[in-house]
Amino acid sequence: MNNGLDAPYPTLTRLTQLSFRLSRAIMCLAVLPAIACLAASVAMAQGPAPVTNLQSADHPWDGGDNADLTWEVSADDATLVESYFIYKAMMQKGPIPADLLTESERKYALVDVVPAGTTEYTVGSVPGSGYVRLKDLSDEQRALFDPNDLPDKPHKKITVELGYLFKIVAVGSDGSQSVETITAAPYSPTRQWFDAKRMYLLIITIIFGGSVVFFIQHARAGKDLKIRKIGGLAAVDEAVGRATEMGRSCMFIPGILDMNDIQTIAGMTVLSRVAKTAAEYDAKVEVPTCRSLVMTSARETVQAAYLSAGRPDAYNADFIYYVTDEQFGYVAYLQGNMVREKPAACFYMGAFYAESLILAETGNSIGAIQIAGTAMPAQLPFFVAACDYTLIGEEFFAASAYLSGEPEQLGSLKGQDVGKIIVGIGIIVGVTIATLAAWFVDTGFLTTWSEYIKGVILT
């Protein structure tokens, strides 16, 4: 069979053919090194050898949104490779395969760049499950679901498992790239019952909570506990007494946040004491509130206080009323009320924002005795400047223990002191390690500890 290669010279003599073949062989010999060089340069352009054995696995003790990648480094890791580029892409959404996902979902996104020599990496933000809405599914996609799993309304959600593919590209110092290495099948991380990232917080919570409970039990057993005098709380009785003497009312302002704020709850504790004292002295306590639920709670608190003072008849629910949720509308009302009614004592106990100084200065201008308590650091200077007494942060939360004098409540304060000791020790240890790590940069273990504290314990 004539292959055509011989076609140009069918009439040549055997000698001529031989000489031609010889010359072609010589030419080949001459060209070979050039071809070899060319091949080498092509290899260079293709970049380093790819990584091998790329595996994805579940990251243990997490919320199911991390995957651990492991691989064997490129054969050129020690020579050509400078870094590895790690990518992720969604490849499965419940029963929906990759070819029916949107282009943006399937697109590989760069996750991170790690240096040569790295053999493992944890990819974050890859939740193992998600949802789609019925209305967002095409007919083709809907057909993949079990009809019983589909909701009846278009906007309803269908929970689905999400699967991801990961790929790694080895990149050389000259910018050349290896061929991609991709994980074999879409991987879906799973969720565990406990998030190990929060382990240290759990330990601290148990120690702190345990110490509070321990000291409460300790106090219940009849051990003597002392508490330092808090001027602001000691002055509550004095302020109510003064209002009684002057024949004027007391105004109690429980902040501008709702009952879900712990400061409002702490304010209710102080209100309980103020109302009880007022009931005993037969003074009027007015409680304008910024939230409906606070009004309801305040009424319960004041009513119970009047009851425990033996004066249930003196309780008047109309003195505890709602004004408005609007911050400055509330402030305008309070200012007007203060100027008109001139209460002899004003209590500001709760969460306050910009209105703190407006209220305290107005109270000051009418000559009222003023006691404030808040845990808003930005507002404390204003209250300190304009009020007679201010409960600063933790003092405010200690109010219920102080005012009640009950041993078990005082026990909780002792538990709080244990928390302070833990924080104190933590700060000293952390600062010492971080400082030493900064001074002695070459000391590996100090740097490791410092990084561990910052990266694991404090996150």
């Binding site: 919320g63 199911g64 019952w193 406990f194 998030d195 929060r198 919570t205 702190f208 509070v212 409460i216 709702d258 712990i262 709850i265 702490a266 209710m268 309980s272 004491r273 939230r291 409906s292 639920l293 009004m295 709670s297 319960e300 608190t301 119970a304 425990s308 109309d318 009323y321 709602y322 408005t324 400055f328 305008a332 910009a354 100084l357 407006i358 305290a360 200065e361 000051n364 845990a375 650091p377 404390l380 204003f382 400047a385 304009a386 600063i392 942060g393 933790e394 939360f397 219920s400 009640s404 009950e406 078990e408 409540q409 909780s412 304060l413 538990g415 709080q416 928390g419 302070k420 924080v423």
Partner: protein, 232 residues
Amino acid sequence: MKRTIPLLITAIGGFVLVFAYFSPYTEDWGEKTMIWFDVIAAIAFVLGGGNLLKIHLKKTSDQAEGWGYSVITLLAFGITLLVGLLKIGVNPSPQFPHFAWSGEYRENGSPFWWLYEFAFKPLTATMFSMLAFYIASAAFRAFRAKNLEAILLLGTAFIILLGRTFAGVWLTDWMPEALSGLKIDNLTVYIMKVFVTTGNRAIMIGIALGIASMSLKVLLGVDRSYLGSGQE
């Protein structure tokens, strides 16, 4: 019983949410609880609105002292509520031209927009701007160089007050580069970054521990004063 059930709800709800924080399976329970609270608070607004009407209607009908203010409050409340709810003067949305209420309630030129633009906005801005007057009067009354701490506080206040204006730059601009850290504008940043932040952190750690301890007392039912007195 009246107090036992709320205490049980508090304790169970609180401890379950503490547990939920550490478990990925239940981490969204906290958000769901917040939604429940929002729903209750929204319903409770009816209670507040009703109380507002009751108090001011009573004051008006009794012609008690200052009843004129109550009339203004009632009028403002009623007009704003009606104009907003009924979308008075609002044109239908271009997407749904056949539905009279499909427009945006605060559409430019609508009565609600007018109330917002010419009543709500200037009134709230006025209340906020009153801070300037009260800061001046509080500074005049309260800042006294009574002791060393007060003197330090005063000095810091002057630096910050000057540093937040062009005067700070102008007064110390002549300083050589080697002493640039002492320029008032740089000192201001340093004081805010180092001293103020340090003090704030200390207060915030105390507050955080106070909140944790207070929360635990409430969850354990040791502190029941927010439900009334300590006794059953």
